[in-house]
Symmetry: C2
Subunit: 195 residues, 2 copies
DNA sequence: TATTGTTATACTCTATAACTATA
DNA sequence: TATAGTTATAGAGTATAACAATA
């Protein structure tokens, strides 16, 4: 437990972080904004998956995911195929063009970070990665939509155990009216596929 | 200098941080979104200032700042007065109602962070604050200024407009057309060593 | 002619709700 | 009836451009 003064300062840093995000966003290709890039990256990291799983990893509503995916599919960077076992769902997977796009993104971000973080060493970066990872983990669980945690970051240390509480579906109907607002629906059953 | 794998992971953390931001955003009062809250916080921290100065601190275009400020003024949380010395500019300052609003915001965020970061100690939080602060600083400088980096000792390289290219002003007219895109106009005077 | 703000317009990201096509 | 995904609509945040008032 930290003090209130620290929390206030932390909030200020969170707010100011937006400038970093915007700066990085300007480096992105015109037709591949950060939202789309995040999808490509996750697909490369976790392999083929369904929309709901992707939404869970992104921690956004599945409707948002659907738009990003449609954007990527239009450009031929990913392919959406029906799951023979459940024709409602879609299996997403990267195309060669998508991999090429990832390389381009990687090239740009690496160049940018190498320039901006020229005086950061491995430990510095590793530390930041670890802390941000932990931060996100602590915000993920205990929420309403405990979107499964993306495992341990390769450049950091160990990660806490992840419980599996899915959900992210928008109320939509009636019945289970959720008074509070949370990200919204995402996946749902966190059945087998887990991981 | 860190490795490319670390940079990739760092980018992923940056992207995932959006979930934390959104979660915090849901805790904000309906009529005081995070953008407005940031303005109130900066005014409390730095005291009365002009629009341009505020835009500089927020690291966003002055037009954006103008909107946030108008929103706050409508609610009576801040007051905009003309500067007698330069009637074009506006001096902003918090009203008692604004201070009360800040208290409310502080109450909410503290409560939220205390709950989410219950297992973080002072050092953990301090560490994150320090790293994020440094990160932002390294992204701030050299932003509008292509090359000039703090590493360049004054008098060493040519460092042309090293300091001058401050602003955040949109090209608007002709003349000094800026080919690249940068945050845009903001204040003017280069932030300089600040931070 | 240059600068400070304001306003109009556009784009990205996200959420809510309604809708389709399966299960 | 429940679930997976899509689409329409709305709101927040930000950027660009054009404009008003003042230097």
């Amino acid at each position: 437990m930290a003090g209130q003064a620290q929390y206030a300062e932390l909030m200020r840093q969170f707010s100011a972080f937006g400038a970093v995000k915007r700066e990085l966003g300007r480096m992105m290709p015109a037709d591949c904004p950060s939202g789309s890039a995040a999808v490509l990256t996750l697909l490369q990291l976790h392999g083929d998956m369904r929309m709901s799983k992707l939404a869970e990893l992104l921690a956004v509503d599945i409707s948002v995911t659907s738009r990003h995916v449609a954007h990527l599919a239009e450009r031929g960077w990913i392919q959406r195929s029906r799951d023979p076992a459940d024709k409602r769902s879609r299996i997403l997977h990267l195309t060669p063009a998508g991999l090429a796009q990832i390389d381009e993104l990687s090239r740009r971000t690496t160049e940018m970070l190498a320039r901006r973080l020229s005086d950061w060493n491995d430990d510095d970066v590793g530390h930041l990665i670890r802390l941000m990872s932990r931060l996100r983990a602590d915000f993920d669980d205990g929420r309403c939509t405990p979107a499964a945690r993306p495992a341990t970051p390769p450049g950091a240390g160990p990660s806490p155990a992840a419980s599996s509480a899915p959900a992210t579906r928008t109320p939509a109907q009636a019945s289970t009216r959720t008074p509070a607002r949370a990200p919204t629906r995402t996946s749902t059953r966190t059945p087998e596929i887990t991981t």
